[in-house]
């Protein structure tokens, strides 16, 4: 049987379904562009849910992300964040968080300082914006307020006792409590399943009834991130009414609810905004050439061919498949874009895993100009139609810098603006 080919026309083809790709689609629709987006990666499910801008440089935490950005522009002008002015970074985060709110997921408005968000093992992390379900934990920690910390029988990788012990120095008065999740007793439990159970009134009432007798002096109750999947702010409000205390979520090991929420939110919300989204398909080839760009995909039932005026590459790094490697070199997988090599494989990683300078391989990637056009070996723009954004970009170490969302959102913003400017001539 001959396979059918479906053709899609768009102004912009976004390749990648991570934070950068989703942000780019949001921004492009905001500028009135027709958008088709494809990708196959579930890596967004690995996020904590926090939107970092820039929290650390070479192992030192920064309270003021804007001062950190200024430092970056002085010391690392090739860094993707250093290429985007503060006003644009603010506008990008503002537009992104507004879009998330519009789709039903509340985030705090970016401020002048980083928040010190809670981590599952008791540390704090500098970040720009957190889900509203996680904000009261920061307030409670800063106020050293008495709190009950919950975990659940059969839940992996989150221990209320561990959280309490490792927080005790700065936040005494935490009381760990283990509960059996209603209806899931005597078995392994998963955050995603618990979150869906809490979307029903019966689920909320059953858990609240278990928590209430233990409240004591605690005004806050912290629990792993399980307060519903689709409308966590509503679930939290309902649970708070039932319990009579303020609730907050703590991120957990992946695959965790905050990341799944974001993925499901975009998969629902973007098509509603008019984005033609193929979230399970990997682009197999991109043809730039003269005229419009073509992106080719092989689906299970049909082939898809996207014709677009511009292509944004937001394919991520090794985990998402944007970068690949063999024993000798690191390469970009879709177009073979040049990746500057730091020498032999021995130079990829430092001997010290946790060293503040990190590993050279984390800074490898696709080099771009100020409009986020990938550059060829000769330093010239590869193609006017091609842009790149997100973790794929060279010159950043998003994990150590606590800059993942910042790099994704700011570079997507700048690339989409350059695309919109060009298409409008």
């Amino acid at each position: 049987m001959k396979r059918a080919t479906r053709r899609i026309e768009a102004d912009l083809a976004v390749i990648g379904t991570g934070m950068a790709g989703f942000a780019a689609s949001v921004f492009a629709r905001g500028r009135g562009l027709e958008v088709a987006q494809v990708g196959h990666s579930g890596a967004i499910a690995y996020t904590t849910g926090y939107l970092d801008l820039l929290g650390a440089i070479e192992g030192v935490a920064w309270d003021d992300p804007w001062a950190a950005l200024a430092e970056l522009r002085r010391d690392a002008p090739e860094h993707p964040l250093a290429r985007v002015p503060d006003d644009d970074v603010r506008a990008a985060f503002g537009a992104f968080i507004e879009a998330l709110g519009g789709m039903g997921l509340g985030y705090t408005a970016p401020g002048a300082r980083n928040l010190r968000a809670l981590l599952p093992y008791g540390g704090r992390k500098p970040t720009l914006s957190v889900p509203l379900t996680m904000l009261p934990g920061i307030e409670a920690a800063d106020a050293k307020a008495p709190a009950l910390i919950l975990d659940f029988d059969g839940l992996q990788g989150f221990s209320a006792r561990e959280f309490a012990i490792n927080s005790a120095e700065h936040w005494p008065g935490l009381r760990p409590l283990r509960l059996a999740f209603p209806g899931m007793e005597a078995r392994q439990v998963f955050p995603e399943v618990m979150a869906r159970a809490l979307e029903t009134r019966a689920g909320q009432e059953a858990l609240a009834a278990l928590i209430r007798p233990h409240l004591g002096e605690a005004r806050y109750v912290g629990l792993p991130a399980i307060l519903g999947m689709q409308a966590p702010d509503r679930v939290r409000a309902a649970m708070e009414d039932l319990i009579g205390a303020t609730l907050f979520e703590i991120p957990t090991m992946p695959p965790a609810v905050p990341g799944i929420r974001l993925r499901e939110l975009f998969e629902r919300g973007l098509p509603a905004m008019g984005v033609r989204l193929e979230p399970q398909l990997k682009a197999s080839r991109i043809e730039l050439g003269a005229g419009r760009a073509r992106v080719l995909l092989h689906g299970p039932m049909e082939d898809i061919e996207i014709e677009a005026e511009a292509v944004l590459l937001a394919t991520g790094r090794f985990l998402s498949g944007g970068l690949g490697s063999d024993r000798e070199r690191v390469f970009e997988t879709l177009l073979g874009l040049p990746v500057a090599q730091p020498g032999s494989r021995e130079a990829w990683h430092s001997a010290a895993y946790f060293g503040p300078r990190g590993h050279a391989i984390n800074r490898l990637g696709v080099a771009v100009d100020g409009r986020f056009h990938p550059l060829g070996e000769d330093g010239a723009v590869v193609n006017d139609k091609l842009h790149a954004a997100g973790a794929l970009l060279a010159g950043q170490d998003w994990v150590r810098e606590r800059s993942g969302a910042g790099v994704a959102i700011a570079s997507a913003w700048a690339a989409v603006r350059a695309i919109a400017d060009r298409l409008r001539g």
């Binding site: 093992y121 690949g324 024993r327 994990v399």
Partner: protein, 529 residues
């Protein structure tokens, strides 16, 4: 200063590898009480840094008939007495195009001289047995090679000795010196490397089974008769099992000439590099690339294989002059020194040798020590089976998964998904495994199980097991997080040289977890704003 923690025993054994734990068990079987100590923990040296091959002897047949025959006898014995530690998978030797045909032609005769069964195979028969072999096979022979789990073996040695007469195992105790009076060691002065506490052990006899560190320990007692050369051997572990049996290259020993299965994985080895310090050995990228290139000549599939880890051991090799001049030569492979020529009457050193002959080394050493103690009980390790124990079975790749599926207990959460190690396995290790009477840690549990050894290399399971240890009250301070950080940092030495291809995304995810989610890189920086 407070008085040191003190112990008394008949025999102090220094070094908890195969030989030291074998000496402990041998002596316990003769009714002699022992304390076994190690500056780190079980199998911290060469006993844990090898491919787990139980030699048929064929490897040595062409060059050293005596050692070959010794390996044959010992491996036949261990297959009978410790079957739960052994996979009697068989082995083959193959020559490929370009290898010396003369060496291959002499092989059957050399095996016959050492009494090793050796069956000629056609290249087609060899490929039928081992489909991973390439088209370039020109000669092949089947021999009775097998594999042995050195971790389980040592756990069983120690567990048996403990059960026989309450002989004691103390990890993390480092020897700092000896009290010597009138040609006798009256006490061994040690330090607990974790608490910093001084430890004094009074023993009637002291056995130095410190492997590559034996020369250093002998010097501390004033004995200058032990002379060692240190040979670093690097190996790499694949994500899946590649061969059904041991696959050897039929040529004089060289890099990348052996692939040994270990449960669900395979281990490719080995390089050999002389180093000056046994304590500072790490696998390097160059060694990994060399053994991979050589191995691929015999097994082309290795070019596409995913490797999860490299590791190395430092073999203590005897220099001829030292062994001949001062030591009493027990065999070509190992040496037992009674140190009489050095003026100490209750001290013995055993070193050199190989995993396959550990029992024989222990027997010769225990014979000397028992004689000195006036104990006339005969050695029983050549006839007494190693008793197994429930807490000792978690080091074999695949064992935890089989157990978990067989029990199908929904409440028994799996902590390590790569290797399917469940909470119940950790509970059992905490309760009963040798060393459990001591303070346990993530690292100690990893040594006694497969945790941290699967595809994620500790990316996920280090965090899950740490949380569980907090739940169990094993950890009760921020030190548990520091232990997790140290564990991950130490594992990285073996992870780093094999990061390419399919293993690199795994490492990237692990870094996002360890740093992004756990903040381990900036732990301790969380000051008040």
């Amino acid at each position: 200063m407070s008085a040191p923690r003190g112990y008394e025993t008949d025999v102090l054994v220094i070094g908890a590898g195969a030989t030291g734990s074998g000496v402990m068990r041998d002596l316990a079987l003769r009714g002699i009480h022992c304390i076994l100590i190690d500056r780190r923990d079980l199998n911290a040296g060469a006993s844990g840094g090898n491919h787990g091959l139980l030699h048929s002897g064929a490897r040595y047949a062409a060059t050293d008939t005596e050692t070959a025959a010794e390996c044959r006898r010992e491996s036949e014995l261990l297959k009978r007495l410790a079957p739960e530690c052994i996979d009697d998978c068989g082995g083959i030797f193959v020559a490929v195009e370009g290898d010396d045909p003369g060496f291959a032609a002499r092989f059957p005769e050399a095996c016959a001289a050492a009494g090793i069964p050796c069956e000629a195979l056609t290249p087609e028969e060899a490929r039928a047995r081992e489909p991973a072999l390439g088209a370039s096979v020109v000669a092949a022979y089947a021999v009775p090679d097998a594999t042995i789990d050195p971790f389980r073996l040592v756990l069983e040695n120690v567990g048996h000795a403990r059960g026989l007469n309450q002989s004691l195992y103390l990890p993390h105790i480092e020897v700092e010196g000896f009290e010597v009076a009138q040609g006798t060691i009256s006490a061994t002065l040690c330090r607990d490397t974790r608490s910093g506490e001084a430890v004094r052990i009074a023993a009637r006899q002291v056995v130095n089974a410190a492997g590559a560190w034996a020369q250093r320990i002998a010097r501390l007692a004033g004995c200058d008769d032990v002379h060692l050369v240190y040979s670093k051997g690097t190996l790499i572990i694949s994500n899946t099992r590649i061969g059904s049996g041991v696959i050897n290259r039929l040529r004089p020993p060289g890099d990348g000439d052996i692939l040994v299965p270990g449960g669900t994985v395979s281990i490719l080895g080995t390089s050999s590099v002389t180093v000056s310090d046994p304590g500072d050995a790490h696998p390097t990228h160059a060694e990994v690339d060399r053994i991979l290139t050589e191995g691929a000549a015999m097994l082309p599939v290795l070019r596409e294989t995913r490797f999860v880890r490299a590791f190395c051991g430092v073999r203590p090799l005897l220099t001829a002059s030292g062994a001949e001049a001062d030591g009493r030569k027990a065999s070509r492979g190992f040496a037992l020194y009674d140190h009489r020529g050095e003026g100490i009457s209750n001290f013995a050193t055993v070193t050199g040798g190989k995993l396959t002959t550990f029992r024989l080394m222990a027997e010769k050493t225990a014979d000397l020590v028992a004689r000195r103690l006036g104990n006339t009980a005969p050695c029983r390790t050549a006839s007494e089976p190693l008793p197994s124990g429930a807490a000792l079975r978690w080091t074999e790749p695949g064992a935890a998964a089989r157990d978990w599926f067989a029990r199908a207990d929904a409440t028994d959460t799996v902590l390590c998904e790569c290797e399917m190690v469940a909470r119940s396995a950790v509970d059992e290790i905490l309760a009963e495994a040798p060393g459990a009477e001591d303070r346990m840690s993530l690292r100690a549990i990893s040594l006694r199980s497969r945790i941290g050894k699967g595809a994620c290399q500790g990316g996920f399971c280090a965090m899950r097991v740490t949380s569980y240890l907090y739940d169990r009250g094993v950890y009760d301070s921020p030190d548990g997080l520091a232990q997790m950080r140290d564990f991950i940092e130490a594992r990285f030495k073996g992870v780093r040289p094999v990061l390419w291809g399919a293993q690199l995304p795994q490492a990237e995810l692990a870094e996002a977890l360890h740093i992004g989610l756990a903040g381990l890189d900036m732990a301790g920086q969380d000051e008040e704003p």
